[in-house]
């Protein structure tokens, strides 16, 4: 571990009477692959939504990223700080091609303004080409060449999940949040997921935080695992430790 990239302190969140997240604190190291596991309703996705500022942290909870406080910044500023994410059931721009979806990932890097874009000045054209080069690198990394010009609505689910990861990578994030990357994928595709998580972590240099149910995937890829139940942290540790942790067993199987 080369220092702490992200840290959360005393995160709390309630939906009405349900306390979805209770006093959750954790640190994610730079360059780590960090998994969050737990039974349904444990608050895993809620943690990701808190990090990407879709929900507001309650009370005195705090989040810092890369040395800066991000607890109260706007949701659209999160990407600019270097945090990208995917969604559990994919939230792609359905009526656009894969290429356009990925180009949207470059949005935060735009230098043009409305006026230059209306006139489509040579600078805007050059910017488009630069965006395209980054996008093509990501396409190469995740083998999406086939689908470049296909509309999302016509793609199989597994490919959509890949496109969503690719779109997040186009941001060139320091930290990538993956919400159940293997859900809805067949065993073969899940194996691929393990490979590209490694690629993203090593070649791309991004810290990966994922919510995942597939313990096989979690233990082959993760450096550390956080187990949750009923909104609270049960245990944090290496995958093998967590798998044999009595509290975790109880959460999954009952007494």
């Amino acid at each position: 571990m080369k220092g702490v990239l992200f840290s959360a302190r005393n995160l709390n969140l309630s939906f009405g009477g349900v306390r979805a997240v209770r006093d959750v604190s954790f640190d994610i190291g730079r360059g780590e692959v960090y998994s969050i596991i737990g039974p349904n309703g444990a608050g895993k996705t809620t943690i990701l939504n808190l990090i990407s500022r879709l929900y507001d942290v309650e009370g005195d909870g705090r989040m810092t990223f890369d040395g800066e406080e991000i607890t109260r910044i706007a949701a659209h500023d999160i990407a600019r700080r270097g945090i990208a994410r995917t969604f559990q059931n994919t939230e792609l721009f359905e009526h656009e091609t894969v290429l356009k979806n990925l180009l949207i990932g470059r949005h935060i890097h735009r230098k043009s303004n409305l006026l230059t874009e209306l006139l489509f000045t040579p600078a805007v054209a050059r910017q488009e080409i630069e965006f395209r080069k980054v996008v093509e690198d990501v396409i190469d990394l995740l083998d999406l060449q086939h689908y470049r010009n296909q509309v999302i609505g016509s793609l199989p689910y597994g490919v959509r999940k890949m496109v969503e990861v690719a779109r997040a990578l186009c941001i060139q994030p320091k930290m990538l949040l993956l919400d159940e990357p293997s859900s809805g994928l067949n065993p073969e595709e899940t194996e691929d997921v393990a490979f590209w998580i490694e690629d993203i972590n090593e070649d791309f240099g991004a810290t990966v935080v994922m919510v995942e149910h597939d313990m096989n995937l979690v233990s082959t890829t993760s450096n550390r695992v956080m187990a949750m139940a009923d909104g609270a942290v049960l245990a944090i540790g290496e995958p093998a430790e967590i798998q044999s942790h009595p509290e975790v067993h109880r959460a999954y199987l009952g007494d």
Partner: protein
């Protein structure tokens, strides 16, 4: 089938993707440029009206088709454009500047109307914009010192550098020229980050946000651009009408504009043109048809809006993608012949997005 062999990223940024497109669009341009030689004054005027509708339609399409925000208030933007253009002309501004300023003022109003749109979508936004249109109508009626109230306002002749633009041929070319510029501007927006941000907001607000897109700003910009185009159309429409009165910009106009983009095909600029032709020429078609119908049928009041509504319903049921969507399917049929199957475009239900977070 045409296969494009791409060797340069610039090919995807260009306006025309291949020589075939370049050829057909040049042919179309030659056609509309030669139209004054082939048509009499009346039809030339109708065609100019189609172009004006198309300009307003581009504005509405950017908002409804690309940003996914419904507006029932576009008649108000048309009115603001028409009145401010006329006001500037009457106060001695040269024609192009008056038109430009009218468009900018309308865009500004659009941006302000867009502010509450951050919190509203769908039917609520439609109602809010409808309310806005009613307010504008009232303002026009009561702000007599500027708008002339119910007395109305005479539109000065369009002139530029001593050139009379009010003749039917000159006005035709004026409308065509401005339409071409508007199309170019719209295409530019759509192939650059702002246009992509708009489609992102349309398809998924939540992930647009996570991609770093400022939702409120994007929606407000979309409203401003949309209003700007519509205001421009309003300025031209003022000349077409010759005399402005508050009852010229009713909710029916807003509905007609919306009908235009839906029938033409949401989410494409081609659709705007098809829709404008449809809206602009259908009244003439109905008028011609009346002559051949038995008087008992042709004299029914409200025949025209009735037919409009009926066609709208047919499109919503059988071809939600509009005329342009139908054209794409026909083209694909020939491209894939004989492999095309009836089920190629069968509508499917998707059960994937069950746990969508709003």
């Amino acid at each position: 089938m045409r296969f494009l062999f791409k060797t340069n990223y610039r090919q995807d940024v260009r306006l025309f993707k291949h020589n075939g497109q370049r050829f057909w669009y040049s042919l179309l341009l030659a056609g509309v440029l030669l139209a004054p030689l082939l048509m009499d004054e009346f039809y030339l005027g109708e065609l100019a009206l189609v172009y004006i509708y198309a300009i307003a339609g581009i504005g509405l399409m950017l908002l409804v088709g690309y940003t996914g925000l419904v507006s029932l208030g576009h008649a108000a933007f048309l009115a603001i454009g028409a009145y401010s253009h006329t006001w500037f002309l009457a106060h001695g501004w040269p024609f192009p500047l008056a038109l430009l300023k009218a468009s900018l003022i309308t865009a500004l109003v659009g941006a302000i109307v867009g502010l509450p749109a951050m919190r509203m979508t769908g039917i609520y936004l439609a109602i809010a914009t409808l309310a806005f249109a009613v307010i504008v109508e009232q303002v026009i009626v009561h702000w007599e010192s500027v708008t002339g109230g119910f007395r109305g306002m005479l539109v000065p002749q369009a002139q530029f550098l001593g050139l009379d633009l009010s003749g039917s041929t000159a006005f035709y070319f004026l409308c065509l020229f401005i339409l071409l510029i508007c199309l170019l501007l719209a295409l530019n927006i759509l192939r650059s980050p702002t246009g992509r941000a708009m489609t992102a907001v349309r398809d998924s607000e939540i992930s647009a946000q996570s991609m770093g897109i400022h939702l409120a700003r994007t929606k407000s910009i979309a409203f401003a651009i949309s209003a700007g185009f519509t205001g421009l159309a309003g300025g031209l429409l003022a000349h077409k009408m010759g005399y402005l009165a508050p009852d010229a910009f009713t909710i029916l106009i807003s509905i007609q504009l919306l009908l235009m983009v839906v029938v033409g095909g949401l989410g494409s600029l081609h659709g705007v043109i098809y829709g404008a032709i449809f809206i602009g020429l259908l009244p003439q078609g109905i008028a011609l048809m009346r002559d051949y119908l038995p008087p008992a049928v042709s004299q029914i009041p409200g025949l025209e809006p009735g037919i409009f509504g009926f066609i709208m319903i047919l499109f919503l049921i059988y071809e939600p993608l509009g005329i342009y969507g139908r054209w794409l399917k026909i083209r694909q049929y020939f491209e894939l012949f004989p492999l095309y199957r009836k089920s190629t475009h069968k509508r499917q239900k998707s059960y994937l997005r069950t746990e969508r977070m709003r």
